[in-house]
């Protein structure tokens, strides 16, 4: 009721002329629906809302068109029914004159509302539901900052709120929007106060602070409080506090200080000292959001200035272009010095008059040139200190000015630049007309950007360092891999060298070869017991399968009838199973027979089934061979290969194959090898039996013509035999030689006949060979 609390003195402050009367002469008015509504998606402080409608969509009044993006954001609603004609960048009321995403609605004039959900008794709902309703209605601070109200009304659990202040101070010159609101909606304001008090757990002090230059508003609110107190006992707690007019007592921090004497510490919020301060318009909007479910789509704004013919307060829809509002009030553009949103102290010049009215538009000031002339040029600071006297935040404006000029951000921060509320009192009193607040705003912006940049550069540093680390790691890994490869290659080389070193002594130690062969063979072979067990398992499994298949052929309980198809299928399966069984049994039998001989492998037996024994035998056979025998064996194998090659060549010739050349070459190579082997054998013969030398000399000396493949081979065979018979008796030798020569001769003749028949190019050579053989035979005989 009447003020029972002490009103504190605000430090500093100024008394600019109020100019509040001209806009209070007319009652609260309205403007007709504009042809188009431009509703920006960031009318509040925080993240812009996200559009949730499509171009061309019909929207109803109060319909959500922009959904809050996160907690620190606010919903945006259509102000009237109509069609969305665009969602695009449009001019918004902002000091930068920049554009922002807006939903453009063409009203249909019907003003059809969405269905609203009213609430008779807010006390029946819990606090979170109430906050949700306020949040859904998109209520943001209507005093000028546009702080999302639902966020403000949900202080941290550690912040105990003992005082709720309704801010009806409205200290800025010209503006009377809150004054008018309190006059016409006092009852709603009181109801809103009770609602907020309920949400904030009934703080002890409920204060409505009004400057003493609004007698009508004071009277209306007092009457409303008295009226409400009749039905609601809590309303009796509401105190209407009237205090002397002084700019800027309407600032939240200043008002709190005036009404409670508490000063908000630097860098803290009012909730930290147990106070929540809400603009009267916001309280009414919150009340309407809860009581009628009505979203915030309109506000009271002061339209004032001498360049207008009508100056008054209007209840205006958000999105109404300011140019339209001005036109409705007889705006004379020629006489206007500028159009300002907000008051003359803290407002800013609108660069684009098509910008719309938004939630924070409390006043549109269109002064004439005489009313608000161009500023005088700034002059040097004379250090008079008047600015420090009037500063409501008790800062040192002239120091801040110096540091802002020098862009000395550290000093600015240490002089608490961020506690400056930009009220403009210092600029107002400055005798040198220095635009001080603009310096502070610029400095604040620079510091903010500086911090953003700093953060970014820190992130850049981290990213860069991380990248360097990553690259270094990759390099290290590559290097490690390279080293590993190098090492492996070296080791392989070493092993190879070791092997080579091992290989030479192994000829002198023949047992090594045998053991190696044994090991090799054993590695191939699985333990016989295991193998047997495996095979037995296979047999039994196959038997089982067969039995199962047979059984399923007989009709059983679960499946009494067997179709023909099933029968056929089953029979096929049985056959398969039988085959498998037979196979498995055979394998087992084979294995058992093999296993019977297995024990013999300990002795160097020649069981062909035992690979170990065979390997041992082969190795031992090799070892027991004399060098001569070796050479002979070599020769024989080479001859066998040559014969095969010859066959192939002949076949190729008859077929005219393309591989002929290659085959012939192969044969030649083999022949060369044979001559080499022959030479070796001859050398061995010389060493062992010099007596036998004269006989083989001639054949050895025989020139080897490449083409005479078969004949040559025969000759060499003969030579080999001669060498082999070196230790036979002379007679035996001769008989043998004659025999062999005869066979050779017959063979040669055959070949000659064949060559003649085929008209071979080698015919001459073959013939020569035959004659030679004949001569030799005669000689021996």
């Amino acid at each position: 009721m009447t003020s029972l609390i002490k009103v504190w003195e605000l430090p500093g402050g100024v008394h600019p002329p109020e100019h509040k009367d001209q806009s209070l002469q007319l009652p609260l008015g309205t403007v007709p629906l504009p042809p188009v509504l431009v509703i920006p998606l960031n009318q509040h402080m925080g993240t812009p809302a996200q559009p949730v409608v499509q171009v061309g969509e019909r929207v109803l009044a109060g319909q959500l068109i922009g959904a809050a993006d996160g907690t620190f954001s606010a919903n945006t609603h259509a102000s009237t029914s109509g069609t969305v004609i665009a969602i695009e960048e449009r001019a918004i009321p902002h000091p930068s004159g920049m554009n922002s995403e807006s939903v453009v609605i063409e009203p249909d004039g019907k003003d059809e509302w969405i269905e609203l959900t009213p609430c008779e008794d807010f006390r029946s709902l819990d606090r979170l539901t109430l906050l949700d309703k306020i949040r859904a209605a998109g209520v943001a601070g209507l005093g000028g900052a546009g702080f999302p109200t639902a966020v403000k009304l949900a202080p941290k659990s550690t912040q105990v709120i003992d005082t709720l202040i309704l801010n009806g101070a409205e200290c800025e010159p010209y503006i009377t929007a809150d004054d008018m609101l309190m006059q016409v909606r006092a009852a709603e304001l009181v109801a809103g106060t009770l609602l907020l008090s309920h949400i904030l757990h009934h703080p002890k002090n409920l204060l409505i602070g009004i400057e003493d230059n609004k007698p009508k508003a004071i009277a209306a609110v007092k009457a409303a409080v008295a009226g409400a107190a009749v039905t609601d006992p809590e309303a009796a707690n509401i105190q209407v506090v009237v205090f002397p007019t002084k700019y800027p007592s309407g600032g939240a921090k200043q008002l709190i200080q005036i009404l409670t004497g508490r000063e908000i510490p630097s860098g803290h919020h009012s909730a930290d000292i147990g106070v929540i301060c809400v603009n009267v318009g916001t309280a009414v909007a919150a009340w309407r959001a809860v009581r009628f479910g009505e979203p915030l789509v309109a506000r009271v704004a002061t339209i004032v200035g001498e360049s207008l013919t009508t100056q008054r307060n209007i209840d205006v829809l958000f999105g109404t272009p300011i140019s339209y509002v001005l036109a409705q009030h007889g705006f004379n553009a020629n006489n206007a010095s500028r159009v300002v949103m907000g008051g003359p102290m803290m407002g800013f010049t609108l660069l684009d008059l098509d910008a719309p009215v938004i939630k924070t538009t409390n006043c549109i000031l269109a002064p004439s040139k005489q009313e608000l002339p161009e500023p005088l040029p700034a002059q040097a600071c004379i250090r008079c200190g008047m600015c420090a006297e009037v500063c409501p935040a008790s800062l040192l404006p002239q120091q801040l000015f110096w540091y802002a000029q020098a862009e000395d951000f550290d000093r600015l921060e240490s002089h608490n630049l961020f506690d400056c509320i930009e009220c403009g009192a210092c600029s107002y009193v400055c005798p040198s007309t220095i635009p001080l607040v603009q310096y502070y705003r610029a400095a604040k912006g620079s510091i903010r950007l500086h911090e953003i940049e700093k953060e970014k550069s820190d992130r850049s540093r981290q990213r860069f360092e991380f990248r360097q680390q990553r690259i270094a790691k990759e390099e290290a890994e590559k290097e490690a891999k390279r080293l590993a490869r190098q090492k492996a290659a070296e080791e392989a080389k070493k092993k190879l060298a070791e092997k080579a070193a091992d290989a030479t002594p192994s000829t002198s130690a023949p047992t090594d070869v045998i053991t190696a062969a044994v090991a090799k063979a054993e590695a191939v072979q699985i333990a016989p017991d295991e193998q047997k067990a495996k095979l037995e398992r296979m047999v039994s499994a196959a038997k089982n399968a067969l039995e199962f298949q047979q059984k399923s052929l007989e009709p059983n309980k679960t499946n009494p009838v067997i179709t023909e198809e099933q029968l056929v299928k089953q029979q096929v399966r049985i056959k398969q199973a039988e085959l498998k069984l037979a196979e498995a049994e055979k394998k087992l039998a084979d294995f058992i027979s093999e296993a019977g001989t297995a024990p013999a492998r300990i002795a160097p037996a020649t069981d062909p089934n035992d690979p170990v024994a065979a390997a041992i035998a082969r190795a031992q056979a090799k070892l027991t061979m004399s060098p001569e025998d070796k050479a002979r064996a070599n020769l024989e194998s080479l001859r066998a290969r040559l014969a095969k090659a010859d066959e192939k060549v002949a076949a190729a010739k008859t077929e005219g194959s393309a591989n002929l050349d290659a085959l012939q070459q192969g044969a030649e190579k083999l022949q060369q090898k044979i001559t080499e082997a022959l030479a070796e054998l001859a050398a061995l013969g010389i060493k062992d039996e010099p007596a036998a030398v004269p006989e083989p000399v001639a054949p050895v000396a025989e020139p080897v013509t490449a083409e005479q493949n078969a004949a040559q081979a025969a000759i060499e065979k003969a030579k080999a035999k001669v060498a082999a018979m070196a230790n036979m008796s002379d007679e035996e030798k001769r008989a043998e030689q004659i025999q062999s020569l005869q066979t050779r001769l017959t063979k040669a003749r055959e070949r000659l006949a064949k060559a003649e028949a085929e008209n071979d190019t080698n015919i001459e050579a073959v013939r020569a060979g035959v004659t030679k053989l004949e001569e030799k035979l005669q000689e021996l005989a």
């Binding site: 008394h15 002329p17 500023p375 006297e389 007309t433 620079s446």
Partner: protein
């Protein structure tokens, strides 16, 4: 004890001094081990002042190497992205005269820029990805690349390697988040005709006309 001191004044003085020096030496030695500073703090301080564009215009492969070079006595005016502000800050830190920017290393651009890949022209060669010191380019071989604008420092290093020349350095436009008020025109250059931008602030440009009756006196109630 006292007798000993009286009888051997020189010896006792020497002993006392020796004892003191041993005690303090031990304390200092302990402190040197206990409070040893890891790394080179001056390099960190210099590095914190550099803009971290990692552009290499100073001739070093990144900001930190340049910081190390400065700590080792190199000139402080080789960082074009930082401009005069960085040079001044470095001069402050190192307590030297602030030279002007060495134009040999490039010009300081007031506008921040970010790389932008014209995506339909990109052939997916990954050369720019390898060049980017910030890992701010996204893409894979034979797939289109794109720049993460938030991470781009505008160092220019990706422009040169691009074989199809599809990377532009575009200036960062101010948006509502990054917009800030400009400093007013200075006294040295008084502006009599005032452009709209410069008179935004009402508090700074009113109160001299009729509307306020020339009142500046804070105490007179209106």
């Amino acid at each position: 004890m006292i007798e000993f001191i009286l009888q051997n004044p020189i010896l006792s003085a020497l002993l006392a001094l020796g004892g003191l020096s041993a005690a303090f030496g031990a304390v200092l030695g302990f402190a040197a081990v206990k409070f040893k500073v890891e790394g080179d703090p001056i390099v960190d301080q210099i590095d914190a002042l550099l803009p971290q564009t990692q552009c290499g215009q100073c001739g070093h492969p990144g900001c930190r190497p340049y910081a190390q070079a400065i700590a080792a006595g190199e000139e402080i005016n080789k960082c074009p992205p930082g401009g005069q502000a960085t040079i001044n800050a470095l001069a402050d830190l190192l307590d030297v005269e602030a030279p002007s920017l060495d134009s040999e290393h490039g010009e300081h651009l007031d506008l921040k820029r970010v790389a932008y890949i014209r995506e339909d022209e990109c052939i997916g060669c990954t050369k720019c990805i390898q060049a980017c010191p910030m890992d701010a380019i996204l893409g894979a071989a034979k797939h289109m690349h794109t720049v993460i604008a938030d991470e781009c420092t505008g160092c220019d290093l990706c422009v040169e390697p691009c074989p199809v020349d599809c990377i532009d350095m575009i200036p960062v436009e101010t948006d509502l988040k990054t917009w800030k008020w400009d400093l007013p025109a200075t006294n040295q250059n008084p502006v009599f005709h005032v452009v709209a931008n410069e008179v935004n602030l009402i508090a700074s440009d009113l109160g001299r006309g009729q509307a306020f009756g020339g009142q500046r006196d804070g105490d007179k109630a209106a």
